[in-house]
Symmetry: C2
């Protein structure tokens, strides 16, 4: 039996994702595809456009057999931690192969790059420390190190999907996980294309989100770019964005003393003063980030810091939690997925949680908190995320529509 793992956010699920899942099944010959998906808050430090349940459902409708929630402590993270969490879960569920989209498309290039990196890690770290420029981003400095050290590094790490894929490959290589790599080339659209091209059926999630949030497109106009399940889901729920949480972030930055803000996870030295100073004249998320931004911080890192403020994630509390993942939320399954779980769960090294009760709630405390906060975007229209929600069973999906 062949088990293929996929790491995703599906924000929202579109035709590019559909193509990827089809290719994953075809190219790996998988019997079961397990998707580890970010929950309600995502890698780029943003809330998901719709909640984890509605996105899991669309994934199951379009080729996934099992959808697992990537714990929020790992989802809102730079590529390395994101990869560490997601790949370790797939390994705990005994995946044989990891399939991801990339700009590069050459699986061997990722394996070779990961091998080179892991073998030379301590020298690269040393070089990074001595050469990194303070007014440059981490990604820029990291690329400089690679191109200085290796005359011909096998991957272009300026491309966002290559960066993520490289992080996955490194995790596999570092822990010697028994997991192969299969990469699928992305079609047509570039990751960050901001405009919808009406001549194509593939658009980037970035372009789709931008169109939805700015409301210059109706959901119906997106039909060309995404399967019916996505359109249904977007029509029946509010489209959530950072601005829905700005009042709470505003309150939290106003309330917390500087010394507490300073202790937030990922807060850069001195940035806490900028937040405290600028908040009184910022009236939305974009204004706040424009005001506090410095040259060495990317927009995405700032969004992540804001998320940690919103969640009250201190450095200490995160370091306690960032160890091995013991339990994850099962979001849904098809009959093939269910059969695989029943047959193999005794060999899994992570607990799959179907029902949240007093006992399991402790294990999922952060994800439950994130789900409750997510509902504050529009409490009356976003359903309970954990205590009263059970995994989606694909057999029931038609009734749910």
């Amino acid at each position: 039996m062949k088990i293929c793992g996929v790491i995703a956010e599906y924000n929202p699920f579109h035709n590019g994702h559909l193509y990827h899942l089809k290719e994953a099944r075809k190219q790996t010959g998988a019997d079961v595809i397990i998707v580890v998906m970010s929950g309600n808050f995502l890698q780029r430090g943003e809330p998901a456009i719709s909640d984890k349940w509605s996105r899991a459902k669309v994934a199951l409708q379009n080729g996934a057999d099992i959808v697992i929630e990537l714990p929020v402590d790992f989802s809102v993270q730079p590529a390395d931690y994101f990869a560490e969490g997601a790949v370790s879960i797939l390994n705990s569920l005994n995946c044989d192969v990891l399939c991801f989209g990339s700009e590069d498309g050459d699986s061997q290039a990722f394996e070779k790059a990961a091998d080179l990196y892991v073998k030379h890690e301590s020298e690269l770290d040393k070089l990074f420390k001595t050469t990194h420029q303070k007014n440059q981003t981490y990604a820029h400095n990291f690329n400089e190190v690679l191109s200085t050290y290796f005359s011909n590094f096998p991957l272009d790490l300026s491309l966002p999907n290559n960066i993520l894929g490289f992080a996955y490959a490194k995790e596999i290589r570092k822990h010697k996980y028994p997991m192969a790599i299969k990469t699928v080339s992305r079609l047509n659209s570039q990751y960050h294309d901001r405009d919808l091209d009406s001549q194509q059926s593939i658009a980037s999630a970035t372009a789709i989100r931008a169109a939805l949030i700015k409301q210059d497109s109706t959901v119906q106009e997106l039909k060309r770019f995404a399967p019916a399940g996505t359109i249904d889901s977007l029509e029946s729920r509010p489209v959530v964005s950072w601005n829905d949480f700005f009042p709470y972030l505003n309150y939290q930055i106003t309330l917390l003393p500087t010394e507490e803000l300073r202790n937030m996870y990922m807060m850069e030295t001195g940035l806490e003063y900028r937040f405290k100073e600028k908040i009184s004249t910022a009236f939305n998320m974009e204004e706040l980030l424009e005001k506090v931004k410095t040259k060495q911080l990317t927009w995405v890192s700032l969004q992540r810091i804001c998320f940690h403020i919103l969640m009250n994630n201190s450095r200490e509390s995160m370091s306690v939690r960032m160890g091995k993942i013991d339990a994850v939320r099962l979001l849904g399954f098809t009959s093939a997925g269910q059969a695989y779980i029943n047959q193999s769960k005794s060999k899994f090294t992570v607990q799959l949680i179907s029902n949240v009760n007093k006992k399991t709630a402790t294990m999922l405390a952060q994800d439950i908190r994130a789900g409750n906060l997510y509902r504050l975007a529009e409490k009356s229209r976003i359903d309970d995320q954990d205590f009263y929600t059970k995994p989606i069973n694909f057999i029931d999906i038609k009734d749910l529509n």
Copy 2:
């Protein structure tokens, strides 16, 4: 030189307050009237209808010579703590006489009641502990003790202004402050009258607020009940109520783990679970309080607890701060007030702070936090409360109008 102290909230300042200030000056023959006024959050656990500066200005226009902010740690409190803070400030500023409004109107009755109470305090405490009923409010139990112990207690402590006045008299007696008592009978309106009577020129602040918040009266219709300054102030600023802060309270209750909610100042045992459970289905302040309310908790105590949640006031942090008041914010003065301050400040035992800077900000940290949170009701329309605001000088008032 005769200095008269007054303790007030002016929420908003109305004709009853005007009458009180006139009578205070007349009956005590005061050269200077010092008002200690609650800032942005008030004794009943509510935000003020308009900010502390606009209310201080109206007080100066209508008879006060000096307006001092009662620190928020003492303003949002049951009568005893409220009185402790306010009376101690007036004593530190060398007031000769305290003048307050009451239902009773007999100054000697207050002095006699305070004397009786202080002399028998330990026996009364003992009796309270053995007889108090858990499903009754504190006020009810306290009155039961007084009527059991004294056959003919000189004050009716079921009336709200008598309760406050008694608390002031007790403080004076307990600390042997060299301060006389003068009480002025309230005119016409009862403290809690909820309706405006168009045949009268005196209405309760409760009725005025209710009319403003429900927006069934325009500010102009209130002209009969309040001086011009109040009308101007209400017309130029948003009318603030608890519902403006409900989103932040909602967020905070959702965010904080039960064990942190439990540590909030004044949180009753077990109430933290009710807050956590009920918040997910409450969509405004009234709904939330209706859902968490129990028989032994008054609406007012619940509002105070909500305020402490909003301010993140833990039991520990409050107990550290609830000692002697070292510094208070000076909100404004007339020329007579200024002359008194200049002449007597070397004898004051509390520091009057005119300007908030790095050093004084530490002393006023809680009031500054409360002011910043207060602005969140409508940040674009409520001015900075502390860092950029100087005391009102009566000479400038005409220009400010």
